[in-house]
């Protein structure tokens, strides 16, 4: 008989408390997840993962250790592993900067709508139909081949802490990505991400991918230079999402943030405001509580261009003499969902206002910072990219690289779309971002074509 998650967490926490730990967080998880990978309009492989694991974080005399156990076939094996962890923590050295986890439990958690959809259990029976619809929708737009993934998860978690937090939750999510091609250099991407299957529309993502692929037909290598740019939500999620993720005290202390000394300062144009928000219905990382059981909330990070705050767990909050924002991560604070306020522009208005040469970037990847502390980065556009001039899309272009810095890009935001969409895909946009399209002036583009 399987051990219940609550029994596993209760037993583990009781054992550690008896052994004299100061702080501990136990998270017992069970999940069944699936993924169908497809390429060249056919399924490559179908996968299924059945996972049960126990995450343990403990602190004793300011010595910190954690483990992730997946051999939890009996309570005896779990206890043996916990004894190993206690021995392990004794080998650690004291972290003088450690300030603890939340002791404020038990908490009343608000229910966040659309974070668990029970119909996810039946999804394996018809998931394949959605992929076929998406491929057909892309082909109807003229694409000749499509590749991508459909992934979904049905999971439960029981979390318990020495701070009397107790969370018992179910979660579901889905992630669909499709990239469609006319040829190896003519392509577009569509995505659909969420928690509630009622919001899943694979065919729409396929149509978007196919349409972009068709529009990119005949694109030629462009010359580099400084141009105004319109970043599609996927590009905003990647580049501006990364810029916002730097509002993290751990990254500041590690010298990996361009926002280190900028609290209270104007860091972007006044049109721009952004939050971390773990309470958004259907948000990929929305949850009642963070990793130490503190209720999540909506945290203002940037208001009218001014850096107003950083995300915090209890440890970093106490160091900064402020309150946790419900963003634990036990080692470091972690973003939930980044939410950018919509602006006032329709997308067609942004194009119509682009009189001087403007580059519309529909997607990008391989964003890397040469100097995270200065925010100097580059990113490679992929899929459809267009030159806009005199208020109209003139032609598809390719083979450019965005080579700029977060301070420049954020300062030069000139227009924000009036609606947002949830963006997350593969390794490029890991933190979900509710992103509008954004127009930025004077973005530097380079090219390797000599």
């Amino acid at each position: 008989m399987e051990i219940s998650l609550s029994e596993l967490a209760d037993t583990s926490l009781s054992f550690l408390v008896k052994e004299g730990v100061d702080d501990a967080v136990i998270a017992a998880n069970r999940s069944l997840s699936h993924q169908i990978r497809f390429s060249n309009n056919e399924v490559s492989i179908s996968k299924r993962w059945h996972t049960v694991n126990l995450s343990v974080y403990l602190v004793k005399e300011k010595k910190i250790a954690s483990t992730d156990l997946n051999d939890i076939s009996s309570l005896d094996r779990v206890t043996a592993a916990l004894k190993d962890l206690l021995s392990f923590v004794n080998s650690m050295k004291e972290n003088p900067e450690y300030r603890g986890i939340s002791e404020g439990g038990p908490f009343d958690y608000q229910t966040i709508p659309q974070t668990y959809d029970p119909s996810i259990k039946d999804f394996p029976d018809y998931a394949i139909d959605n992929i076929e619809e998406a491929i057909n929708a892309a082909m109807a737009e003229g694409a000749t081949s499509s590749a991508g993934i459909l992934q979904w998860l049905d999971g439960e978690e029981f979390l318990k802490t020495t701070g009397n937090a107790e969370v018992d939750r179910q979660r579901s999510h889905f992630l669909f990505q499709i990239r469609s091609f006319l040829s190896p250099t003519e392509s577009g991407q569509g995505i659909c991400v969420g928690r509630d299957l009622a919001t899943f529309n694979a065919a729409q993502a396929g149509q978007n991918a196919g349409e972009l692929a068709r529009q990119s037909r005949g694109g030629k290598a462009a010359k580099g230079g400084t141009f105004n740019a319109i970043f599609a939500p996927t590009v905003v999620g990647d580049i501006i999402g990364s810029a916002i993720e730097a509002a993290n005290p751990f990254l500041v202390e590690a010298g990996r943030s361009w926002l280190g000394d900028k609290l209270g300062q104007q860091i972007s144009s006044e049109e721009f405001s952004a939050y971390d928000d773990g309470t958004i219905p259907n948000g990929f990382r929305s949850a009642e509580a963070d990793a130490e059981g503190v209720p999540t909330k909506k945290t203002l990070l940037i208001e009218n261009g001014v850096l107003k705050g950083l995300i915090h767990n209890t440890n970093t909050a106490r160091k900064a003499e402020t309150e946790s924002t419900g963003n634990a991560g036990l080692v470091l604070p972690e973003n939930t969902n980044i939410a950018i306020d919509p602006g006032s522009y329709r997308f067609d208005e942004m194009i119509a206002e682009s009189k001087s040469p403007t580059i519309y970037v529909s997607n990008c990847w391989y964003s890397r910072a040469a100097s995270p502390i200065e925010g100097v980065f580059s990113s490679v556009p992929r899929d459809a990219m267009f030159l806009i001039e005199n208020g109209e899309i003139q032609r598809p272009i390719r083979e450019l690289r965005i080579s700029d810095s977060y301070p420049n890009v954020m300062r030069n935001i000139i227009a924000i779309q009036n609606k947002v969409r949830q963006v997350k895909w593969w390794l490029e946009v890991i933190t979900p971002v509710f992103a509008p399209a954004i127009m930025i002036k004077d973005v530097k583009f380079t090219t390797g074509t000599q």
């Binding site: 990978r37 490559s44 391989y366 502390i373």
Partner: protein, 475 residues
């Protein structure tokens, strides 16, 4: 009742074949990971992970299914196998041709990587002390930020398939990762990321000469921020060190040579390739250029003797004297190309599907003496290592920004530091421009290479000789 891993793998094959699979393979992987993290000298956390589980891949009705589980009971095995068969059969409606694998001999082998000071035998307290000493060597030169991680893994693997292959391996690995940031009095900044990794044990800390190396790196970083000047503009020659040669070998040659990318299987994630299926035998670079991928190098981070499909490995010459010579295949891609696997199938752990991957990829050393490399360069840059890099998803447009770089003038390597020169060009232009490499040993850098979905990070080495010359690059 919980099954032992090896028994579970054998039983999984039996059950899968009995339930109608045409082919089945199972990997039981037992990992024992320890890691320790210091930020500015403070011990942030120590962590261990004891993971074990079974990954099962099967083919039924010409479609592939994969299932992984970490609860190893007969009931969970039967459930997972039935489910994997069902999802594979369901997907058959969206396949044109049946999935098949290249024919390969069945192998039976047991092997292990040599380790003198095995991670599993070293007490955590000793590892913590070691990391503290390493951190201290970074701290000798007043740097405002430093961050370092020590990681080790004792991995045991048992592979079995329905064709009779049975491979057992034990490969321990150690890795160090560090980041140092220097800021000059006038606000110039530079960051250095250092990664060392190998198969084996803690004897590698000494072999890397890590303390001396990091102390020198910290000193150099401070010099760069205070002394480096803007790079020359126009067309110049580059000479790149093993670190840069390695990333070029990996990104511009290794990835585009992966057959699954060439076939489009990775199109939505890590991308495709500028190399088309019919490019084998075509010239892609200067005849001075040879690039090899070799998983058999003892002690290497990317070491393995049998891949995750049980095929025996060998060195692969990807580019031979400027000609695209060989792809990186697993059995699936090899069948499509009508050839044999190049034994490059790897998975990060039991819960990931095996796909074509690199191992240790390098630009082969040439025939040039050290002085000969520089002697006819009027204006150039010697790029020892790099900060930022990226490349498009066809692996054609690449960019490498130098970190420790020196001016070459009138045939002489000077001590004048150059700030962040950019080597931004296309792969074919770059490969045509490489006209020579220093003689001598290959030097390697470690990395974790990402690919697949869910993303899989596998340990690799990348390298080259002490100096590889690249002609006439515009900066």
């Amino acid at each position: 009742m919980t099954l032992e891993g090896r028994d579970a793998a054998d039983l999984a094959i039996e059950l899968a074949m009995a339930k109608g699979a045409q082919f089945a393979e199972a990997r039981f992987v037992q990992g024992c990971v320890n890691q320790f993290l210091l930020k500015n000298g403070n011990p942030e956390i120590g962590a261990f992970e004891r993971s074990s589980g079974l990954g099962l891949r099967l083919i039924v009705d010409g479609a592939a299914g994969f299932a992984s589980m970490n609860v190893l009971t007969q009931k969970s095995l039967e459930e997972s196998i039935s489910a994997a068969l069902k999802i594979a059969r369901t997907s058959r409606s969206l396949r044109r041709a049946p999935l098949q694998l290249s024919e390969e001999p069945a192998n039976t082998a047991t092997y292990e990587a040599k380790a003198l000071d095995k991670p599993v035998d070293k007490h955590p307290e000793d590892k913590v002390r070691l990391l503290g000493e390493i951190d201290a060597s970074m701290a000798t030169h007043q740097l405002p930020f430093r961050f370092c991680l020590l990681w080790d893994n004792d991995e045991r693997k048992y592979y079995v398939n329905s064709e009779g292959s049975r491979i057992e391996s034990y490969i321990p690995r150690v890795m160090f990762f560090g980041v140092m940031t220097a800021i000059s009095s006038n606000g110039q900044m530079e960051q250095s990321m250092i990664m060392k990794g190998a198969s084996g044990g803690y004897e590698w800390i000494e072999r890397w000469n890590l303390y001396e190396f990091l102390t020198k790196e910290a000193e150099t970083l401070n010099k760069i921020v205070s002394e480096a000047t803007a790079p020359p503009t126009g067309n110049v020659d580059f000479v790149v060190g093993p670190n840069v040669a390695g990333i070029i070998a990996h990104e511009n040659c290794g990835h585009p040579s992966e057959a699954d990318r060439i076939l489009g299987r990775e199109a939505a994630q890590a991308g495709e390739s500028y190399l088309a299926p019919d490019f084998l035998g075509e010239r892609v670079g200067n005849d001075s250029l040879t690039i090899i991928d070799d998983p058999t190098i003892e002690g290497s981070f990317g070491y393995f003797l049998y891949d995750d499909e049980g095929v025996k490995t060998r060195p692969k010459t990807l580019i031979k004297e400027g000609v695209f010579n060989e792809m990186i295949h697993n059995r699936e891609s090899a069948f499509i190309f009508g050839t044999h696997s190049t034994a490059a199938s790897r998975s990060e752990t039991f819960s990931r599907e095996p796909i074509p991957r690199m191992s240790n990829t390098f630009i082969a050393p040439g025939e040039l003496n050290w002085d000969e490399i520089f002697e006819d360069i009027k204006l150039g840059i010697y790029m020892i290592n790099f900060t930022e890099w990226n490349i498009d998803d066809r692996r054609f447009q690449s960019k490498y920004i130098g970190m420790e770089c020196y001016l070459i003038k009138n045939g002489e390597l000077t001590s004048e530091l150059i700030k962040r020169p950019v080597l931004e060009t296309t792969t074919t232009d770059l490969f045509e421009a490489i006209d020579g490499s220093a003689k001598g040993d290959v030097e390697f850098t470690a990395a974790l290479c990402g690919k697949g979905d869910p993303p899989q990070a596998v340990p690799v080495w990348a390298g080259g000789s002490r100096g590889t010359r690249i002609r006439n690059i515009r900066i």
